[in-house]
Symmetry: C5
């Protein structure tokens, strides 16, 4: 099962029972691709598909061939940088096309060598299974990196009811939703491969991949749920704070407004205000004010305002 | 595969192995259409269908014929101006009916010429595939134009919590939802064509179209998600601003209300207010006021109000 | 295809190749119905079905017969007044039962006469198709009437944040949802007819009806979406207005509270307040007040409060 | 079709063409049940099922037998009191097991006698149809009772924005949702019976039951929708009232705050305030205050605050 | 049906008609597992599956074997501690692999002994049914423990509109949702077993398990609904309280602001204020103030503010 690197060696429909894996770099070698396709009697719809360099994740069942286009995430960078990969699957051949020369498949090859005992007796569908499994791992790793770098998702206690915080929640939500879409399209591919009617495709492999990718999507859904909770929290805190602020204002106002009014009354300059002339009027008024204050506080306490 | 322009040349059910594409302009030539349909032994339910000039997007599987009605978007204008198109598909004939004479199909023809190598050996379903692919491109281009012209969707930073802003968000949301409906009905057509049981229809073409239109719908969903986030932002900003405004009012009131009350007390005209007659009463009071103010500020600071 | 009006003429299972349409008025002639059913060897489950005069929209596949119960909307009135109709369909017979004698089917008959050329060679399923098509038209017309009479749905600009407005939005929403349910049950009927396994039912007719009723439901969904937008608008306007009101109050309070405090200070009657005895104390204070005011206004401007 | 009451008479798999209905009371006669099951060669999984006395609504397709467990609602009481019933259906036998001796099936028997003409030629599936129909009626009656007793659902006009009102809305919503779950599980049973592959089960009966129970669920959905509208109304009224209250406060404050400030100015005790010594200063100030008030009112009117 | 404990005794594909249950402890005995798998000619994909020690709940249909991985909840602890279990099912063998040696299966064995009469004639699918049933019971018990320990879910009356309360609601919601996911994945397993095409698997058992796990999920949904209601209640109470607070402030302010203004007027020091010199001016003013207050109170009463 060592990869073939010599392009001349390609006989996709050979009756030989061994399995070949052809890995080519660069999606722009259209001419060579066309030559291979026509010489090996593959479905010529492939010509049109490969000549287009932007594909969403997809699986197409052509005549005797399965065409798979997947975007692989690059884990090195922070962003969702992706690399386009094509897989062309016949019973005995797996042709993978990478956008750039890279060591991406090196560890898949290692995996193959590790699992040698198992791989020996398998067909190309098992090869594709191993590659897809490593791509799912790649998605899982990338998602772990992304969710670890999210500040709001990870700080479980402090919700700040500010627009900036809300905006960050929304930003992280959108990032996760974007990632979920990518994971969903990966699941669609696997589901389609599971349902494919081509003779040599073994459903059990794709069934296994399906549970793996569903597991990833469940993790994503859980994080989304957490962020939705934060939004509820934000509005609840805003409402609570407003209540607290207004209670403070109202308690102060309700206590002092009548007192200030009373002081205003005895600040008037009417010629004849009998109270002003009494010996202890001032002190009686202070006493009345104290009583009014105490009654107000008692009433607020009773209504459990503080 | 050059289009036929002479109406007399039509033999839909000829046993000839070549493929014909008949393109006619105008949906009002009911009489001629009827004549063609009856003379070529097509399903006479077509008569009823074509006589009706307003159709939603639809696919109907008639006896030996597939009838497709699609609204094509006109990219020249800002609005959703559409043109009705009918396609009548038999194994060897594709009859397309345009509402108005236009160069719309010119670039489809070019595409056909470009892909000549591939097209040669294909049937009418491949022709329909190319036309539908160009219509999806047309939808994608139109959507790009629409979403580029949306002011709120594109300005990522500034959310204004005004009713006008909300109204604009809702307007753009409704526009996008309307477009999404159009894209959905296009997908329904393609899904129905994929499921069609007519013998000559090749599923792989429609499967490919399906992933293309799903990709468009994913883009639309993402934009809708963005606008929903804006709505959340609006309410969050409103709540935050209200909190800020009320905090300002409350801090000012809570600081000055007791001070004003104290000033009111010593503005009273009681005959006997001992404090008024002391030498430094005024300055002592100012000192008390300063202390009250500082304590208030300290308490607010402690409660993190500012 | 002229309708039969003489009840004695009924031979539902005649081997005759012509098509009969039996139209009877009144659902209470149970005895006569039973007689007809038993004499013509129709499924006796019909007896039980017809004896019940309240049916939701439904399609039942009985032995050799299809039973359809539909509520037809009366367009004359404002409300959702409905009339119960039954259709009993065998390959050669269509038996329709109306609740009340009316000219409802007159224009269906006209349609039939119009489409004579097409109808001639058709079976009873085409007759049912025409009737169902006219019922869908009837639903569409009624919905147009209803949505035209809705005041809030049609005034696109003025959203008032009052409970009355909200109540009207909710009322119109509920009316539309009720209508949507009716349209949905109509679609269910057509879908069930499309899936029916009875030999003579032609799927293409019901496929066509399905796209028509889906189109109606899309229109309804769009209107519902519009009303949902109004609700978002209401809450956004309420929040915005509250912000405006509180801003006004806060600006006024923050500007005048310190000024009033200062005036209160110099209204005190302390024996020894040096400022009071200066020549220009009053004018200096007015100047200080002006400066405080200008600074406040400057700060508010800076914070973009107005 | 008279029910058998003698337990010894049971020969479930007799080749006799007549139909038997066995009705037993009490679910605790496990021993007798086991005896019957083993002696009549029924699937012994029934033993395990019947020995368990708490089942959710369910249908199980065993070997040659269909096992149905349904909870019947007791209409006499206010609560959701339910009675467990089991039905064991073979082509010629219907064995029903009631929890308690009751006259529940009396009116089903009456129904059977009423419909005698129809029932005669039917199999046990028709018997089960009649029983299930009466259970659906029982659900519908119970729901009518429940929804009639709901105070908030029925008072269409008065929405009070208090927590008590909200709590009542939520309570009624939860009650209805609980009922909807029961109705849904009933529908699941019927759908499962409709899909059952046992030879003698007649789909048309269950198709009819399905439309009946769907009709009930539609009614429930409509009531739920009404209650959701009330919640929207509550928040809208709260927002509106807050706006009204704050407007009142702001208008009063904005009008009186400057006036009180002016009065404060001329209440100061500065030695030299020229205005105080003028003859008509007081009246001029009153005039100025009037003008300020009128201008404020004019501005509020212009901004449509009242 | 006594479990085999001697590892040497394993002949999975023996033609013997008896049923064997092999139970092994520890997932790390990879070498022994590999030996067993290769020696008994089981699908070698099992090697890869078992060597991986972290699986989500899953069912895989391999060649002649069904592989089931389930996480069993540990009821002893408060958290969602789980133990990984594998089941490998062939027609005559059930091989269960537990992570740790424990008495977990003891009571399953008891169950088997209890149901001896029934079990005797059953295949391994019945054994798996009993194990899965006990696992569902285990989930139900754990959920009962969890929901009983939730403080907010169980206190039906007191909703506090504080952020802490909201946070607790959200926490309990997330816990329940996490549990629901576990229950859902259990249901997925059972549904997949129900749909499995392997010859010896008896659908009726899994159909029964399905209704049991659906019942559990319904209970969970009901609790989630309760918590959602609490959230609505929180916002409603916040809105109501704010209204009450602002009403109090506004009533106090509206009553006292004009009175304080009047007092301010007659506190001015204008030389010529005729009212000040009248004999009863002070008392007349007090009367005027009383009237203003009573009118305000009357107006508030009329507007139903208190």
């Amino acid at each position: 099962c060592d990869p073939i690197t010599n392009i001349d060696d390609i006989h996709f429909n050979s009756k030989d029972k061994s399995i070949f894996w052809l890995n080519t770099y660069g999606t722009y070698h259209t001419k060579e691709f066309k030559q291979i396709i026509s010489s090996t009697a593959l479905d010529d719809f492939l010509l049109k598909l490969i000549s287009n360099d932007k594909h969403p994740n997809k699986v197409l069942e052509l005549d005797n061939v399965i065409f798979v286009a997947i975007k692989v995430l690059k884990t090195e960078t922070e962003n969702f940088d992706t690399e386009q990969m094509f897989f062309i699957l016949t019973p005995h051949y797996l042709w993978s096309i990478q956008e750039q020369k890279g060591d991406y498949f090196e560890w898949i090859r290692e995996r193959i060598r590790e699992n040698k005992g198992i791989v020996r007796s398998k067909k190309t569908d098992y090869l594709l299974f191993l590659i897809l499994e490593s791509i799912i791992d790649n998605y899982e790793d990338t998602y772990d990196d992304i969710s670890d770098s999210m500040t709001i998702l990870n700080e479980t206690s402090d919700v700040k009811p500010t627009p900036e915080f809300t905006q960050n929640v929304e930003k992280e939500k959108n990032t996760i939703i974007t990632f979920k879409r990518a994971a969903n399209s990966l699941r669609d591919i696997i589901t389609k491969l599971e349902k494919t009617e081509q003779q040599k495709v073994n459903k059990k492999f794709y069934s296994e991949l399906n549970t793996q990718v569903n597991n990833l999507i469940n993790t994503i859904d859980f994080d989304l749920q957490e962020l939705e909770s934060k939004i509820n929290m934000i509005f609840s805190i805003q409402g609570h704070r407003l209540n607290e602020v207004m209670k403070t204002l109202t308690i102060f106002s309700v206590i002092f407004i009548p007192l200030t009014f009373l002081a205003g009354i005895y600040g008037m300059n009417f010629k004849n205000i009998p109270e002003l002339d009494t010996e202890y009027g001032y002190f009686i008024l202070l006493g009345v004010m104290l009583i009014v204050t105490l009654v107000s506080i008692y009433l607020f306490k009773k209504k459990k305002w503080f």
